[in-house]
Amino acid sequence: MSEKVIKVVPVVKTEKVTEGVFSMWIKDKDLATAAKAGQFVSLYCNDGSQLLPRPISICEIDTKEETLRLVYRVVGKGTEEFSKMKAGDEIRVMGPLGNGFTLEGTEAILIGGGIGIPPMLQTAKSLHAQGVKVQVVLGYRDSDLFLKSEFEPYGSVIVSTEDGSVGTKGNVIDAIKANNVSGDVIMACGPMPMLRGIKAFAQENSIKAQISLEEKMACGIGACLACVCKSKDKDHHTNVNNKRICKDGPVFYAEEIEI
């Protein structure tokens, strides 16, 4: 908890990943040391018309270079502003925020869908580093397979595409079934319909599943209660079956939450 910082940090590199998706590397020792796979940071905009921080998941952590890599889709004025930044610019950031994935299991199935793919990259690296067998399943719209090749050093990678242009036509569950992927833990990030499908798949197959949620956030630290999700048990904060995604999540065990 006390590892959170808020500071202005240098941008050391930026890159267009694919149409509408950008990478930004920021350098800060505190952030890079404290960050874990599945956590996120809040980025603040320069333009005064946009006051709320943008929660962006951490794609890669480089403790040696003391950098974090953030990969995000441009969805509005804030992310558009970020996408125009260049190496040498500075950005105000708060983080690391939330709890990351629990690095567990012996045969992990890592699932990313769309802009939920980036946080799975550091997760793959971290699991691989501690000897877990990593099986990556990535869901794309079409043959624009951004980040896919970057996963390959850490395990097997299969893909689904909505248009069937590459891999299994359909969604990530279709790809898992088509390829008979099995494991003892699932870790996933992506759109809500995908996460619902994964929760159901995990229950049917009695596999433990960690899923990462997102919701509109204001404070990013658990105070404002904007980004809640329904939980099975009473939450410790309000005692009303509402977990705070920013603080209690963003990663939850699928059975803890109602989605």
Partner: protein
């Protein structure tokens, strides 16, 4: 030059005139990673009801131009857990006053919480009769002067601490509401709560917050807030806690010059978790630079 920053709000002395707007700061725990709570004049808690409230469906917030809309729906743990957990946590910060924001769906709800707090070690109560995001109670009480006066009287009958009535800006005549609260015995007033607003996501063809409407806050609405604080300061004799879009020390000074005896910082906490301390420091510097020996000199100095 040494500047007196202490203010006296209805008999309670704060070390400085800065508190936080209810709902933007929880009970302080989350912000204590960034801010020494001892340095804030008072912490105003998230609204607490007689029982836990789950709040509204998500999405609960949406960003707007220079502001935001929220419809949290007063999710809160209820008075029991609050008393057990939040008050002892805050009381550790000896220099800071505790203002408990009280919400309810009926007069009885409010009464129950206020009675429960009578024996607790808190400094002031703020009665939220202006939340636009709950169907019953909340704003309905705050838009009718007779209702404002009546509920204020009920609160005063039961409260052991000074009572601050928090006013809604969604009214034709804010001075009339302020006078009603004063007539009901309010020890102080706080304003403004949020303006009722709406945002539509034109691509999804849906309301941006699930509750359809929400409360608009942030610097966008500051001119409305300053105007209302000014109008209320002309109309009543009780102390005023001014709020609505304060982002920096200059904004806080503006509210005091309009007639506020103290100020609350809300949405700005989301933009900058350190903002409270920066505002306090900035206000002090403003006084030093301008030869103001006592911050209270600024109150209502523009007429």
């Amino acid at each position: 030059m040494s500047v007196n920053m202490k203010v006296n709000i209805a008999g309670v002395e704060w070390n400085n005139p800065v508190t936080v707007a209810s709902g933007t700061f929880g009970s302080g725990a989350e912000y204590s990673d960034f801010v020494d709570l001892n340095k804030i004049g008072a912490v105003t808690t998230k609204g607490v009801a007689n029982v836990p409230w789950p709040g509204n469906p998500t999405p609960r917030i949406a960003e707007t131009y220079g502001g935001m809309i929220n419809a949290i729906g007063l999710q809160n743990p209820g008075i029991d857990l609050f008393v057990k957990r939040d008050i002892p946590f805050l009381r550790e910060y000896k220099d800071t006053k505790i203002i408990v924001n009280v919400c309810g769906k009926s007069t009885e709800d409010y009464c129950e919480v206020v009675e429960r707090l009578a024996s607790e070690d808190v400094d002031m109560l703020e009665i939220n009769i202006s939340c636009p995001n709950v169907k019953e109670g909340g704003i309905a009480f705050g838009q009718d002067p007779k209702a404002v006066e009546a509920i204020t009287k009920e609160m005063k009958k039961r409260a052991k601490q000074p009572v601050i009535m928090k006013l809604s800006p969604n009214v034709t005549n804010i001075a009339e509401m302020a006078k009603a609260a004063e007539a009901g015995g309010a020890d102080a007033l706080s304003l403004i709560n949020t303006l009722t607003g709406m945002k539509i996501d034109i691509h999804r063809r849906a309301f941006a917050v699930a509750n359809k409407t929400g409360g608009l806050s942030g610097p966008a609405i500051k001119p409305v807030a300053v105007r209302m604080v000014y109008q209320v300061a002309q109309a009543v004799n009780v102390p005023i806690i001014g709020m609505g879009g304060i982002m920096c020390a200059e904004d806080a000074i503006e509210f005091m010059m309009a007639g506020a005896n103290a100020v609350s910082i809300g949405t700005a906490n989301f933009h900058n978790p350190n903002v409270t301390l920066e505002v306090i420091e900035g206000m002090k510097k403003f006084c030093e630079k301008n030869g103001v020996k006592d911050i209270n000199e600024l109150v209502g100095c523009v007429k």
